[in-house]
């Protein structure tokens, strides 16, 4: 028979123990928050460090002048134009390929060893270190196909590098579209391609876009594979313009042009003995971070919005 006294005595003991245990809860939640903040603080420190160092070069001139032996007048013009052009190639190689592959795997591929093979391939490619893509580029594009150390080579390399990202996000966003929508379209007589083009692709475009942005941000910051194919040059001019004023108005000569890109320019300046160049490098670093964070931020925001808006 439980008496009031024994119950109360017991309770006092239990309460003391609970207090002790709850202290652990409290301590852990602080540790947990700190553990997560370490990453964030690092990022912040890094960014502040770069901003403080690079501050004097946050001018428009910095973006509109060519590299120079004089740190103070050196600029990023050829680097950001190079980055832009390389990204253009990357975009046009990875996006159609990746989206098409994603569509094939989700919508068309029969469930057999063949699609398993592709599937395993894509997951593994996503884990291949970027430097290995550099080796691929060196062996295949530079020497195998003789494309040289050109914008085309760099763009294709980064395209392959982000291909798995595009494929995986494409598949994920396609998977979110319910069967009932597909069946509805088929039921009014749409062909498979019409279903894919009018519906699947249309409704998953937001999700696919986030994948593309994240992939492009990654490509923008990649350095190792580009070093491997041998950039790192003094380039104080722009590649031939992709558009011209005489017919046929578009030319592809720029694809074969040599180039430099933002991370390489940063790398280059940091290997200068003169400290003044390190300021340029810091400013470049801050710029790369801002751009990639903006891109990633857009992607995350976009995904958030899609999740919020589309409730099938």
């Amino acid at each position: 028979m439980t008496t009031q006294a024994s119950v109360l005595e017991n309770l006092a003991e239990v309460r003391a123990m609970i207090r002790k245990h709850k202290r652990n809860d409290y301590i852990f939640s602080i540790i947990g928050l700190v553990a997560l903040m370490i990453g964030l603080l690092t990022l912040l420190t890094l960014f502040v460090d770069l901003v403080v160092d690079g501050y004097p070069r946050f001018t428009l001139d910095f973006l509109t002048s060519y590299p120079s032996r004089r740190a103070a007048s050196a600029g990023l013009l050829s680097a950001w134009v190079g980055s832009l052009l390389v990204m253009l190639v990357t975009f046009f190689s990875a996006v159609p390929l990746g989206v098409a592959a994603g569509i094939y795997l989700e919508e068309y591929a029969p469930k057999n060893w063949f699609s398993d093979l592709i599937e395993i391939n894509v997951t593994n490619l996503a884990g291949v270190p970027s430097i290995v893509y550099g080796l691929l580029a060196l062996g295949l594009f530079v020497y195998g196909l003789n494309l040289g150390e050109s914008i085309l080579t760099a763009g294709l390399t980064l395209g392959l590098l982000i291909l798995p990202i595009v494929i995986v996000t494409t598949r994920e966003s396609i998977r979110g579209i319910p069967v009932s929508i597909r069946e509805a379209a088929y039921a009014v007589g749409a062909t498979k391609w019409q279903v894919v083009f009018h519906h699947v692709l249309h409704y998953s475009s937001g999700g696919i876009l986030t994948g593309i942005i994240i992939g492009m941000a990654r490509a923008l910051g990649e350095t190792a594979p580009i070093i491997t194919i041998g950039a790192l040059t003094f380039i104080a001019f722009l590649p031939p313009s992709p558009v011209s004023d005489v017919a046929p108005f578009i030319n592809f000569e720029w694809l074969q042009s040599g180039f430099t890109v933002l991370p390489i320019q940063m790398f280059n300046w940091l290997s200068r003995p003169d400290h003044a160049f390190h300021i340029n490098a810091a400013a470049t670093g801050a710029l790369i971070i801002v751009v990639t964070l903006l891109m990633n931020g857009t992607a995350i925001w976009l995904r958030y919005r899609i999740r919020k808006n589309i409730k099938w």
């Binding site: 929508i181 069946e183 062909t191």
Partner: protein, 259 residues
């Protein structure tokens, strides 16, 4: 409800169906659909009603490994729509379908209804406008949406969405319309609307409807088929089925002893 006899619009002949799993979900079903009549399919869950219905627009072709055996013949042209030489897409243009849960596309109301025409390559805006209006009127939705045709379809209520799906199915002038439990996701008022609509549609086309709700079958249909374990147990005038079924199994089901 059956007033006069009417020609047969389509007929399943000894139709069996196998899912890719090997499961035989339909076992030799022979059954007519009379023109401009409503035929209801009833039976306990899993008996194969949806499976049967979805044979009529070859929906099963979408999933590899499914197999039909037997025929579904359409009149007056006497075509076996399960034939390999027949294009399932063309079948779906003649026989449209309304699903259990309203499934409008995440597009505007207008585009939802126009979709069947777009798929057929219709570009003429006048034609499309007219058809959309006609279909929405046919689905008793025109008055409610005519001022917001370019709103997103998702913004409609469940019942409105289902009527929109009916309008979408109507817009291509189908000869037969399939309904798979079209009201099971709807509230009683929306259900009554849809039932009324179906009765009206009977003037224009042939209807096959699957329903869980026996009262509904009794209310709307001219003929009723009772299925059990993939077999057609009984097919007859609705009145007859509900008042005086010839088979014991049917009676048990109708009276709620079972199911």
């Amino acid at each position: 409800m059956v007033t006069t006899t009417s020609p047969v619009k389509a007929e399943s002949r000894n139709l069996s169906f196998y899912y890719s799993s090997g499961h035989k979900a339909l076992k030799g079903i022979t059954m007519p659909l009379y023109e401009k009549r409503i035929t209801a399919l009833i039976g306990p869950s899993g008996c194969g009603k949806s499976t049967f219905l979805r044979c009529f627009n070859r929906m099963h072709d979408l999933y590899p490994g499914n197999k039909y055996d037997g025929q579904i013949v359409m009149y007056p042209d006497n075509t076996n729509i399960l034939d390999n030489g027949v294009d399932p897409i063309e079948v779906r243009m003649r026989i449209s379908m309304v699903f259990q849960k309203p499934n409008p596309f995440p597009k505007s109301i207008y585009e939802n209804v126009a979709y069947g025409l777009r798929v057929r390559g219709e570009r003429n805006k006048r034609v499309v406008d007219d058809k959309v209006e006609e279909a929405l009127k046919g689905a008793a939705l025109w008055d409610e949406v005519k001022d917001r045709l370019h709103d997103l379809a998702f913004n409609l209520s469940g019942g409105q969405q289902q009527r929109l799906c009916i309008a979408r199915a109507l817009a291509t002038d189908p000869e037969i319309m399939l309904f798979d439990e079209p009201t099971s996701a709807l509230d009683p008022i929306a259900t009554a609307n849809i039932e009324e609509l179906m009765s009206e549609l009977r003037n224009k086309l042939t209807i096959l409807v699957v329903t869980h709700n026996m009262q509904q079958a009794a209310r709307v249909s001219d003929y009723t088929a009772y299925m059990y374990l993939g077999e057609l147990i009984e097919y007859d005038d609705t009145d007859k089925i509900f008042t005086n079924p010839s088979r014991k199994e049917t009676e048990d089901y109708i009276t709620g002893k079972f199911g």
